[in-house]
Symmetry: C2
């Protein structure tokens, strides 16, 4: 691997913990320019040996659940314990809207003012696979820069939660107490991913409802077969507003980490994530080429329509697409 | 598309409802010989206009839940109503063991003796994607041969359930009453797929336990957000032994079908399945080439190991694999 001067210098600056350099490095990763992408690959490869030590936590929750205030409170608590906290995001909708769920740093008023915190909005270009890949690499850069806790926020839409779960060690689902009797439903896909369910707003008048919601979620989870025999997803309550239970969130994350390391699942999950990531990138590359190459795109669309209408068999269409790919 | 003589004649025989021809056609589809595969593509393309009218039902359940006796009872009930019933299977483990969950037809003693029933074991070669693709095409052939109900059985392992859900209109999960208090856990992934949960062995001494289990499953499902706003997965009890509740299974399947057609989800799901199928086949082709081409396989394995060990970034490895694919 050629070590380009740019990436080498930048790598040293990132490792020194230079926040401006870290921000530049992530911008380089997110750039679509071919020369930037080549530099970015060198940079990540260069920093790779200095990554992997952070506690990687994915956090999801519907809009209004209080993700920002929760991350603000959790982040401040962690900084109080001497940690350096990076906050990243995967928001595929940002690719369409150009906005980002973390674009507005004022959503994390306290944390964004801390030297030991680094907040970065979601990449706002490309497919979900592309956005997730950039966030993954940003995570590695943050680790190389000395951040030992990485919080990856995602909105609860479709595959973005799976993508974040695939890049983190622990996946936390935030919920709200039901208003009165009606309980906020757990998205089915989420049940499969969550290592813990935390009910926010366990404060004042809501305390009782929060406890009741937690009890119901817990009962529901007990009817489901656990993903790992070494960890049963706990259901806890907390208040991002008062800070009650924030420490418990972190204690559970560390307990999970200890259990997974003890049984070997931790290393296995990290390894599997790496390999899966490689295939995801490859798939995203092929998909991107099929969509971007004008010579191919039109024909692929025709084939998709013919298959959807039952005029052509998927096998016949797949043969032609494969031929289009191989002819390049 | 060239219309090979063989496939043309065979297509006519299949359409005439000739069971021996149907069996030969499926064998042709499952063959790995290049000339057979070309004929199979012509055959399916030829019969495509005569497919799609059947009720496609996926059925899953852990070993011992009574899948065979359930299919035997349901199939006999449907034949009694004047239906023609095809029973297929997706069993990826058959690729390893050479066996098949439906290899032993005596498991469906009554149904296998019926002229209006056609039972075919799972294809026993290839990746899950390959096995599923062959089962899908076998389903189309059965439809062209006049079977108006297709039951696709699968064992509850990993992705096979998703594969069957992706080729059927209705996905039925069979469960057992818990022994005493302990309740059989619902696999989390299954919660996302199931259009109905049916508790078997609701008979004699088990009746009470079956009802209790159904009530608990129902309570759990109600805490989960439904997949479709037009259908809430019911939880029912039945007995494959006595036949009690078998008619209810079919009534629910038809009720779901009516609801999905009314809201337009039925056509949308079928179209989406077709397109997804095309991409699955393409992906399977690429994967197969990466695994089978000796020039590529070794290097891919090295790259996977390097990525798993954190020596190479997934992006760098993906670039090289893409180059290997494109060089062919």
């Amino acid at each position: 691997m050629t070590r380009s001067a740019t990436s080498a210098t930048l790598a040293d600056d990132v490792r020194s913990g230079d926040r401006a350099a870290l921000a530049r490095a992530i911008t380089l990763i997110e750039s679509r320019r071919a020369d930037h992408q080549a530099q970015a690959r060198d940079l990540v490869q260069e920093l790779l040996p200095h990554t992997g030590h952070a506690v990687r936590v994915g956090i999801t929750g519907s809009p209004g659940v209080g993700k920002s205030t929760t991350i603000d409170a959790l982040g401040m608590a962690l900084i109080g314990k001497g940690h350096k906290v990076a906050v990243l995001a995967v928001d595929p909708s940002s690719a369409r809207t150009g906005g980002s769920i973390l674009g507005d740093k004022t959503r994390m008023a306290r944390l964004s003012a801390e030297d030991d915190a680094f907040i970065r909005p979601s990449p706002s270009s490309g497919t979900l696979g592309g956005v997730a890949a950039k966030t993954r690499e940003a995570m590695l850069l943050c680790e190389a820069a000395g951040f030992d806790v990485v919080l990856v926020e995602t909105v609860g839409i479709g595959q973005s939660e799976t993508a974040v779960c695939d890049m983190t060690d622990f996946f936390l689902a935030l919920m709200l107490p039901g208003a009165g009797d009606e309980l906020q439903g757990i998205k089915k896909g989420l049940v499969e991913l969550a290592d813990m369910i935390a009910v926010n707003k366990a404060e004042g008048d809501n305390l009782k409802r929060a406890k009741a919601a937690a009890a119901e979620y817990n009962a529901a989870l007990h009817i489901l077969a656990p993903r790992s025999e070494h960890w049963f997803p706990p259901v806890v309550t907390y208040s991002a507003l008062t800070g009650d239970g924030i420490d418990t969130l972190w204690d559970k994350i560390l307990a999970h980490r200890a259990a997974m390391i003890a049984c070997g699942d931790f290393a296995a999950r990290r390894r599997a994530q790496q390999v899966k990531w490689m295939w995801t990138i490859l798939d995203d590359r092929l998909q991107t080429r099929l969509r971007s190459d004008p010579a191919i795109r039109g024909r692929v669309r025709q084939l998709e329509a013919a298959v959807a209408n039952g005029e052509t068999t998927p096998a016949v269409a797949a043969d032609e697409v494969a031929a289009l790919l191989e002819r390049r």
